[in-house]
């Protein structure tokens, strides 16, 4: 019982240390050619997206959570 508690504590400690260490991006900047293509933007034409969202909000009861978090892949 005591051994497993120690193991859990060590695992949590290791996780904390790892979280504060430099995280290696698993998709390197030079591997983001596909993601940087304009066709991969979540919102390629904001003026058009905003209009269609407005149409749906006027016709439907649901609202919210329609935008992407913004930015994203840092591949500009």
């Amino acid at each position: 019982m005591r051994t497993s508690r120690v193991r859990i504590a060590m695992s949590l400690l290791a996780l904390g240390v790892a979280a504060c260490g430099p995280i290696e991006p698993w998709v390197k900047p030079y591997e983001r050619e596909n993601l940087a293509d304009p066709i991969m933007a979540f919102d390629r034409n904001p003026v058009s997206t905003a209009y269609l969202d407005h149409v749906y909000e006027a016709r439907e009861g649901a609202r919210g959570a329609v935008g992407s978090a913004g930015g994203g892949c840092g591949c500009n």
Partner: protein
């Protein structure tokens, strides 16, 4: 989040989006309603750390909708919306703030928002937090003897709105990106239309029903969560899937699913296609026909609060061109987009067709169906 903040962000900087201007003409036609007008969106960077966005948007409404046909006269209306936003980039953190104003003859709305987003983990992850606050003033127009509409001096209501959202964009592989978002919206005040009525069974009326004003609760809180995934196909095309779940304190649950496909052809053309499915159940206090006058504390017959399924099929084409006489323009696109929207109502009947003498009493009319054509034509310029 606290752990992430404590560990600190890498020291290289993010990037603000490029300078861009869009001029759009939009037109919605369906259910006896035509809404069209322009939208102009301009985005400009000042140095590498500041950007401003301005939007001017107009809805010119000509309405003879089913609601208007039943209880009022066709009308024309104009809504103008202006917004101004600012962004400040500091290392990996982008701060955004802005203000949106919307005005029509019987409704005025102001919204302020603040957002903060941070790129992290080698720019594979972006986390955003947004707070917005809105203030609405609701008025009522009345038709005068000469046919003109003027504001009713005895009616003025207001509503307060607040919104909180958190979003995460995550690069999953070199060809796959995901965005998730959760948003809480909460409103307090006068939330219904000052014009719309509900109908109730009235044996003394020739049609078998009469009208009384709708009454909504004075509060509404909604939760919405969405996930989007976009995948780059090996032959240079993009496939996107999206799902959103919505629930609110009025008893509405809704599901939205969307699939979109983007296909470039040559250097200049990009074609888009999408299918969208939406399903909601009715609000707790919605009924097509109430059993009697004053049946409940809250009464609604707004078809947007009914049970229905909505389908959209959309296509778009974009053509890129350059104008050699304008060297400051990096690229331009002209875009055409068409969306066909069909809504099948489960419990909203076409009360214009009530005919008790011919075996169509109130409550047995055919269910209503709405279809609409939505067209967008716009020019985009990057400079």
């Amino acid at each position: 989040m606290a752990l992430i903040a404590a560990c600190g962000a890498p020291a290289y900087a993010g990037v603000l989006a490029d300078d861009r201007a869009d001029v759009l003409y939009h037109r919605y036609e369906g259910g006896g309603v035509t809404i069209d007008g322009p939208s102009i969106l301009v985005r400009k960077k000042f140095g590498e750390r500041f950007a401003a966005t301005a939007n001017y948007y107009v809805d010119m409404v000509s309405s003879a909708s089913i609601d208007v046909e039943l209880t009022a006269s066709p009308y024309e209306e104009e809504r103008t919306q202006r917004s101004l936003g600012f962004e400040f980039l500091n290392g990996k953190v982008t701060y955004s703030a802005g203000f949106i104003n919307s005005e029509e003859s019987d409704f005025k709305s102001n919204t302020a928002y603040f957002s903060i987003s941070q790129d992290m983990f080698g720019d594979l992850t972006t986390i955003s937090l947004t707070y917005k606050r809105g203030w609405d003033d609701v008025f009522r127009n009345v038709r005068q003897a000469d046919g003109s509409l003027t504001r009713d001096p005895g009616f003025a209501e207001s509503a307060d709105r607040r919104g909180y959202s958190v979003g995460l964009t995550q690069v999953l592989t070199r060809s796959l990106i995901m965005a998730v978002q959760y948003e809480v919206l909460t409103d307090e005040g006068f939330l219904n239309s000052p014009y719309r009525s509900v109908r109730y069974i009235d044996p003394e009326s020739a049609s078998g029903y009469s009208f009384e004003p709708e009454v909504y609760p004075h509060t509404r809180t909604s939760n919405a969560a969405s996930v989007r995934m976009k995948y780059f196909l090996p032959y240079r095309a993009a496939l996107e899937g999206q799902y959103r779940f919505f629930t609110d304190t009025w008893g509405i649950d809704a599901h939205t699913a969307e699939v979109a496909y983007t296909h470039p052809v040559g250097e200049r053309w990009i074609f888009d296609g999408k299918l969208r499915y939406y399903r909601q159940n009715a609000a707790d206090f919605y009924r097509d026909l109430f059993p009697r006058r004053g049946f409940a504390n809250f009464l609604a017959r707004d078809k947007e609060l009914a049970t229905f399924t909505s389908y959209t099929v959309g296509v778009g084409a974009s053509y890129e061109f350059r104008v050699s006489r304008l060297p400051w323009v990096q690229k331009s696109t002209v875009n055409l987009r068409y969306d066909y929207l069909l809504i099948d109502y489960d419990d909203f009947r076409d009360a214009r067709l009530t005919d008790p003498a011919n075996g169509v009493p109130a409550g047995s009319e055919p269910l209503y169906e709405l279809d609409a054509n939505v067209i967008q034509l716009f020019l985009s310029v990057w400079f």
